[in-house]
């Protein structure tokens, strides 16, 4: 909010901090204030008034705050109102209490000023308004704005002759009613918008903006000044309906003190009389529904010290609070100033004392706490472990947006009823919550293709979908590598799962029907399900041609996605040391010719069954096609005995057993 340095200074008699110094004081003790800007004989202070301090949305309010900080009195110059004896306000206009809806308005005051000369404002007035960000219009309107920036009470001036029926009402608008505002915008109103109306029609949107027709013009001679206090809820409701925020509505939304209503009205009338030569009709209209109650709070200096963690004497605390307008009552009670609606509890007092005393004077001290034994979320531990393993395997971690565009959902063929839509997305790029990490991962691959011939990336993050109507959020691990590298990727995942201490994982054939999102992502032939026991925890495989075409990627990409929540449940099991043999191993190679469609796993099973416990390792070291029908597989078998060196004779016997078993199958042939 913009403040004029000169206007703030005008409340103080003697010495006042220089602009830069003032900005610093305010920043440290009250509100953040940007570096003052020089503007024609004045300085502009942009002060970020906190939303719980609407009393400082005015120069006088801010001056009182400064007064508490610099310990000097802030006062408004003396002024006196002169009313005409003959003309009474009631002779002009009627405002019946029953015509003021108390759900919109808490207090409604008005005065009438006649014989007004509407003209350009004096220079000093225009200067103040310009610094505060207002465009000078004419003396009457300028004075209402000036009183608002000075005292914080929004006012409105009507041209009396434009008010039909000489009557003012405060009511909810009717559906279908319209208003043309001062800045020539038409608003369609309804029951959610409070209005000021004459006999016929709305003449202003209550507390927000005036109507054009009833506004002040050069021809205006009789002015009705409105000073009212509108309900926050009514302002909020109209704001939501019309999407309209003004200087007035901002102040009402945060709350304006009720005692200001008549005071600001009188002050405005005084200024209009002085600078627009008006005559003030006798009396003022004042419809007040409920007086503000005096509020008190128990003053507990001990508790305040405890909250701040510093010793400040009772007297010193009291002095600070008094300077902020608190009054000491009996029995250690304080009366809260009417304009400080934000002060309710002892913690609020602690803040007042703390900031004026100076947070910089509070020295850090070690907390005296109870000894506790932190137990971290297990997810943290495992995520770290997984990330470290991927890093050591040469993968780069990515973090992508949780939101996806519609085209992503369509491309993956995910049913829209299974995912979550954002009602108010940032843009069409971010309309849905991702049900898979893979879309953005593939996008990453595409993006990096021009710069890298090798890409290995992974991400850990939440995916979101709907299950039985409920929103589900699930921690997921996903990644991709570039090139025709099924077995390399299978190797990475094998290493990952082994390093995580999972023993019974295996790779099964891919069955699309078990993919809850029915992803079109995978090339079904070159894909595999990752299983632990009988539970499916993820899929790895080649990204389908269709999807690669969507991304315009011309190189094969292999990807994976793993349900981390399932995985972590299994990982919670302890990892145990596996004893190993200290004796030398004997290696033997065996080559088997078999039909193309024979699964390597089938032969491995035979080898492992025949080899028994002394066959400690089987590696497939070579695979090549003999012709269209047959292929050759070469395995390296490692034999070892737990308790002694294994004899070559024993190995020969085992090999013989293996040969026999293999040859039982008429399609297998051993190459010797």
């Amino acid at each position: 909010m913009n403040f004029s340095y000169n206007l703030l200074k005008s409340f103080f008699k003697k010495s006042f901090p220089k602009p830069k110094e003032l900005a610093e004081i305010l920043t440290m003790k009250a509100f953040e204030c940007e570096e003052p800007q020089k503007v024609e004989g004045d300085f502009l202070l942009n002060i970020d008034v906190l939303p719980n301090r609407p009393d400082c949305y005015s120069h006088f309010g801010m001056a009182k705050e400064i007064s508490a900080i610099i310990r000097k009195k802030a006062k408004l110059a003396k002024w006196k109102l002169k009313e005409e004896k003959k003309a009474k306000v009631e002779d002009f206009i009627k405002i019946k209490p029953q015509n003021v809806d108390s759900s919109i308005c808490k207090r409604y005051c008005a005065r009438v000023i006649f014989d007004v000369k509407v003209q350009e404002s004096p220079k000093w007035l225009k200067d103040y308004l310009t610094v505060c960000g207002f465009l000078p219009i004419n003396n009457v309107v300028d004075i209402t704005n000036f009183v608002m920036v000075l005292l914080g009470q929004p006012l409105h001036a009507f041209d009396f002759e434009k008010i039909e029926g000489e009557e003012i009402k405060v009511r909810w608008a009717k559906k279908g009613e319209k208003i043309l505002t001062l800045d020539e915008e038409v608003f369609e109103l309804d029951e959610k918008v409070g209005v000021i109306a004459d006999k016929e029609k709305p003449i202003a949107i209550a507390g927000i903006k005036g109507g054009k027709d009833s506004g002040i013009s050069e021809k205006t001679e009789i002015v009705v000044i409105e000073s009212a206090n509108f309900e926050k809820s009514a302002i909020l409701s109209a704001k939501r309906k019309l999407d309209l925020i003004t200087e007035a509505s901002k102040r009402f939304e945060h709350g304006v003190s009720l005692s200001l209503t008549p005071f600001a009205l009188d002050f405005a009338a005084f200024l209009i009389q002085k600078f627009a030569k008006g005559k003030i009709a006798k009396g003022k209209i004042d419809v007040l529904f409920e007086k503000e109650k005096k509020r008190v709070i128990k003053f507990d200096p001990q508790k305040i010290c405890e909250i701040l963690g510093v010793k400040i004497s009772e007297n010193q605390q009291l002095e600070i609070l008094k300077s902020l307008g608190f009054k000491k009552l009996k029995d250690n009670f304080l009366e809260i100033p009417e304009f400080r609606g934000d002060v309710v509890e002892i913690e609020d007092l602690a803040e007042e004392v703390g900031r004026i005393y100076g947070y910089e004077r509070i020295k850090g001290s070690s907390p005296k706490t109870t000894l506790t034994f932190p137990e971290n979320d297990i997810q943290i531990l495992w995520e770290r472990e997984i990330k470290d393993i991927f890093k050591s395997m040469g993968f780069t971690e990515v973090i992508n947006y949780s939101f996806l565009p519609e085209k992503a959902i369509s491309a993956f063929g995910i049913p829209f009823e299974k995912i979550n839509k954002i009602k108010n997305p940032a843009s069409f790029e971010f309309e849905f919550l991702r049900p898979t990490l893979l879309y953005r991962i593939l996008e990453n691959v595409k993006k990096n293709l021009p710069f890298y011939s090798e890409i290995k990336i992974f991400e850990i993050g939440n995916v979101f979908f709907k299950e039985n109507g409920k929103v589900v959020e699930r921690n997921t691990l996903s990644g991709a590598i570039l090139g025709d590298k099924f077995f390399e990727l299978k190797g990475y995942l094998d290493t990952l799962l082994s390093k995580l201490g999972i023993l019974d994982f295996w790779f099964d054939f891919y069955q699309p029907k078990f993919d809850i999102l029915n992803l079109k992502v995978w090339n079904k032939i070159k894909s595999s399900e990752i299983k632990i026991g009988q539970e499916r925890v993820g899929v790895l495989g080649e990204v389908s041609k269709e999807i690669l075409e969507h991304f315009k990627i011309q190189v094969p990409v292999f990807a994976f996605e793993i349900n981390l929540e399932k995985l972590m449940k299994i990982m919670e099991k302890e990892q145990e040391f596996q004893p190993y043999s200290f004796y030398p191993a004997i290696l033997r190679d065996i080559s088997i010719i078999c039909p193309q469609k024979t699964l390597v796993d089938e032969i491995m099973q035979i080898l492992e069954n025949c080899g028994g416990e002394n066959l400690v390792d089987v590696d497939l070291i070579d695979i090549y096609d003999i012709d269209d029908e047959r292929k050759s597989l070469t395995f390296r078998l490692s034999f070892q005995h737990k308790e002694r060196a294994i004899e070559p004779k024993e190995v020969d016997e085992l090999m013989e057993k293996i040969f026999k078993e293999i040859e039982k199958n008429p399609y297998f042939e051993i190459r010797k």
Binding site: L50, I307, T369, N376, R384, I399, I457
Partner: protein, 334 residues
């Protein structure tokens, strides 16, 4: 004669050896050949044997001499070669992976707070209005609620929303645990915004909460200074400025001495010497009551810091859009 012919060839081989390895190989070969000649001697007549034997011995001696001379020459050559070694040749590229800068910063933050006895807690990214707003003392008629909920919050069906701050996890934790409490909550948060160099719709925060008897602003200062000292690995000054958050009272902005210029003033700190590190305050009594904790008995502080911001400061990353870019030219640097 056979030997004469071989002799020439053998000598040539030794002379022409290009390096020590070749020389050794040739010499071995030569010795083998001589051996075969010697064996042949047994089959011929004595006078011839004598003559030939002598020739072979001479050849042998000559060869050995040649061999030793050549060996010295080659050794000298290699020694000379060893005296010149170009270490400026670019290194062989060794590929290891890299973790996202957010992960690195998050890990560090977690480590430091763990060392201070804090527990690391996580919570859901999809939240309800109670945990994200109401319980945090931001009721629906509150001006702050309007700014956050209408302007900055992504809504799903059934009034579910993407959490706008990790503070929601404070509530979840306090609802389930009795004080004393010491937790930090790292995580993603979501705010509707126009994305630019300093604004993101999705970024990372960490939340901290400490509740015990008599916890004070002074304690917060101590913990914060200790954290910053350990995180930036140097002495850090902090200052607290008054602020307003519905869920803390008193509330403050936490400024730290500028990590770029050290406080003398630069572009990053707009010449103030200070940069904003986050918001903090003493837990509002209403928040305690909302979690069924008695504010008369317990006091505590809470703070929120941007992990993304910490990463930008720590690694001097000028634009927030790098983080979600998936650009390996950025990510592989960490």
């Amino acid at each position: 004669m056979e030997l004469e012919k071989e002799k020439e060839k053998i000598l040539r081989e030794i002379k022409e050896a290009k390096n020590l390895k070749e020389l050794e190989e040739s010499f071995k070969e030569v010795q083998n050949k001589i051996k075969t000649f010697t064996q042949k001697l047994k089959k011929i007549s004595l006078p011839q044997r004598k003559k030939l034997g002598k020739e072979i011995n001479e050849l042998k001696e000559k060869l050995e001499k040649e061999y030793l001379v050549k060996k010295e020459i080659l050794k000298e050559k290699e020694r000379k070669k060893e005296e010149f070694f170009d270490i400026t040749i670019p290194p062989k590229k060794i590929e290891i992976g890299s973790l996202h800068p957010i992960t690195l910063v998050k890990n560090k933050v977690e480590e430091v707070f763990q060392s201070l006895g804090f527990e690391i807690v996580l919570g859901p990214e999809i939240e309800d209005e109670w945990h994200n707003f109401d319980a945090l003392n931001i009721p629906s008629d509150h001006p702050a609620r309007d700014i956050l909920s209408l302007g900055k919050t992504f809504y799903l069906e059934n009034k579910k929303l993407m959490r706008t701050q990790t503070s929601s996890v404070q509530i979840r934790y306090m609802e389930k645990h009795n004080p004393p409490l010491k937790i930090v909550v790292p995580g993603k948060v979501f705010r509707k915004d126009a994305i630019d160099a300093t604004h993101e719709i999705e970024f990372w925060q960490t939340e901290g909460l400490m509740v015990d008897k008599g916890i004070s602003v002074a304690n917060f200062k101590e913990i914060m200074e200790e954290f910053l000292r350990k995180f930036f690995e140097k002495e850090m000054k902090i200052r607290l400025r008054p602020s307003y958050f519905p869920f803390t009272e008193p509330s403050f902005e936490v400024d730290i001495s500028c990590v770029i210029c050290g406080g003398s003033g630069c572009q990053t700190c707009k010449n103030t010497g200070w940069i904003e590190a986050g918001g903090a305050g003493m837990v509002h009594p209403q928040v305690f009551r909302n979690c069924k904790i008695d504010p008369k008995e317990w006091q505590g502080f809470a703070f929120g810091m941007g992990l993304t911001r910490l990463a930008m400061l720590k690694y001097k990353i000028p634009d927030i859009r790098y983080f979600n870019s998936g650009d390996l030219r950025f990510l592989k640097q960490f």
